[in-house]
Amino acid sequence: MTEPLLTIRGLRKTYPTDRGVLTAVGGVDLTLDRGETYALAGESGCGKSTLGKIVAALIAPDEGSVRFDGQELVGLSPRRLRPIRRRVQMIFQDPFSSLNPRATVRRIIEEPLIVHGMRGPAERRRAVAEMMDRVGLRRDAADRYPHEFSGGQRQRIGIARALILNPDLVVCDEPVSALDVSVRAQILNLLSDLQRELGLAYLFISHDLSVVQYMADKIAIMHLGELVETAPRAAFWDAPRHPYSQALIRARPNPDPRQRLQDKPILEGELPSPIGARQGCDFRSRCPLAFDRCAVEAPPLHPLGPAHRAACHLVEGAAAPVGA
């Protein structure tokens, strides 16, 4: 068996604040295969974005390891990192801040090739034109500036910039959450087409479970910097095991007018603060199933099946028998 494309082990990242140490990512393990989409979902402040930025080598973690295609990225010098950067790209959330306002569309898409000293000017021009076709931008857009485009078009420009280097892994940080519904569908379709055509792997970060459901092969739910459940898509939707996953699935607004909010059970309470030391299960203050053990002991991720793990005392020992 070949090595997975991305292996994350024991990743931690903390920030000092005035009120104590904020744990953004607190010990995450994750494995991503080639051509696969792994979705990271959770509420704001759960650390999913920080994790994405660590994988894209924008932030250095405090502890842990990120292995990309067999090579350790943590602690690598900028010079040694450069060849890796060609293979790990990122698509950003805000289509208005993610493009250099002073550069033309051609320059923005061409820039990565220039940075890596790849190909001559004529060839670069052709590569840009091809990439623009591929992401559904008209070629005459090349000499215009980002502010002349709508949010959806700008997101296409950002995608073109990320893909021009032909990367293996693309970190997508909330790529559609700033877009309108009708445009969102266009971009999601584009992302899955490109994945199929180019064999990309996505680390797909989103707070929107509907989007996650559509895009992901595997799903990881994060809560206050930790993974509470990881599962293949089908297992996650059919049998989510962590109470938080279950709550998130229930809370997902569904355009079915027969499921009224007044009839749904909802999570009460606020998230505990990510600052300072914590004890027990982080979710217990909002968990409808919490019992005394949850206050003392933090549950580890229990294996439940192929790629399925959940961090809850209630699933301990519930692993499906081997071969099931």
Partner: protein, 322 residues
């Protein structure tokens, strides 16, 4: 029974050289007592501007050029500034997407709500603190007494929105206009806030005009839905009918392009193209360039709004009722 809010043939346009740059173009909508009406649309559809015009809060770049807005029977469009101040808060209140920008960062929650009450003569200096706590408890602010003395920045997004709701409800308005009230919040908090609004509706009997882009939220909470596109209401009706059997191709498209409906791994339905800019389409139906069932007629003649079986629809070729 008289509706709380009745908008008829409202028109607003961008100030500037183009006289056809309508942001709101002949919009009519009614909200009855205790009713939750959702005004749904994408950005630029004019839904927020409609909400703002009810309280005459339109930005200076936009000008009301026609129509009538009756709030509790009084015409808002021709109102003097003094009368307007009285209406704001007592007849209608508004809450916004980002409560941080609508709460004064230099005043405690208690002070802001008390100011509101005192301005409208709803309380005296002596009774104000007690009334503030009452209001905060009404919006289920946890630990209301402590929170009252805090500043907006020390509250989380969800609690800030609760404070904003308490402020909006201070003078017991008949209608609450909620402009994307939960868009900035996480789903679990979003549910809490929406549920609170529904409970308050039941308790106080106020109507809610919910401005949103999220059909999921609409399905969960609205009684009636109006779908806006390019300054017009293209379809309106009771929530179950409208979402289960949309008749306007735009409504149908919006529902179809949600990831929920897609088969796992299948393609999402797309609405091609982009919404038009104000004034860019002069003739015919504004949705025609993106519409799968558009004909020659659609590009020439703007469809009238027809009312059929409790549904209003502006389309030459509506989908057949299921």
């Amino acid at each position: 029974m008289n509706p709380v809010l009745s908008i008829s043939d409202l028109r607003a346009r961008l100030r500037g050289p183009d006289p056809h740059a309508f942001v709101i173009d002949g919009l009519s909508l009614q909200v009855g007592r205790g009713e939750v009406v959702a005004l749904v649309g994408e950005s630029g559809s004019g839904k927020t501007m409609t909400a703002y015009s009810v309280l005459r809060l339109l930005p200076s770049a936009i000008q009301l050029v026609g129509g009538e807005i009756l709030l509790g029977g009084q015409d808002v469009v021709g109102m003097e500034a003094r009368q307007l101040r009285e209406v704001r808060g007592t007849l209608a209140s508004i809450i916004f997407q980002e409560p941080m920008t609508s709460l004064n960062p230099l005043m405690t929650i208690e002070r802001q709500i008390a100011e509101m009450l005192l301005t409208h003569g709803k309380t005296t200096r002596q009774t104000a603190p007690a009334r503030v706590i009452e209001l905060l408890e009404l919006v289920r602010m946890p630990d209301a007494r402590t929170r009252a003395r805090q500043y907006p920045h020390s509250l989380s997004g969800g609690l800030r929105q609760r404070a904003m709701i308490a402020l909006a409800l201070a003078c017991e308005p008949q209608i609450l206009i909620a402009d994307e009230p939960t868009t900035a919040l996480d789903v679990t908090i979003q549910q809490q806030v929406m549920k609170l609004l529904l409970d308050l509706r039941d308790q106080l009997g106020m109507a809610i005009l919910l401005i949103t882009h999220d059909l999921g939220v609409v399905a969960e909470v609205a009684d009636r839905v109006a779908v806006m596109y390019a300054g017009r209401i293209v379809e309106e009706g009771p929530v179950v009918d409208l979402l289960e059997a949309p008749r306007h191709p735009y409504t149908a498209g919006l529902l179809a392009c949600l990831p929920d409906v897609a088969e796992a791994g299948g393609r999402l339905v797309e609405i091609p193209g982009l919404p038009p800019k104000p004034g860019s389409i002069r003739e015919g139906c504004r949705f025609a360039p993106r519409c799968p069932s558009a004909t020659d007629l659609c590009t020439r003649v703007s469809p009238e709004t027809r009312i059929e079986a409790g549904r209003a629809i502006a389309c030459h070729h509506p989908r057949m009722p299921a």
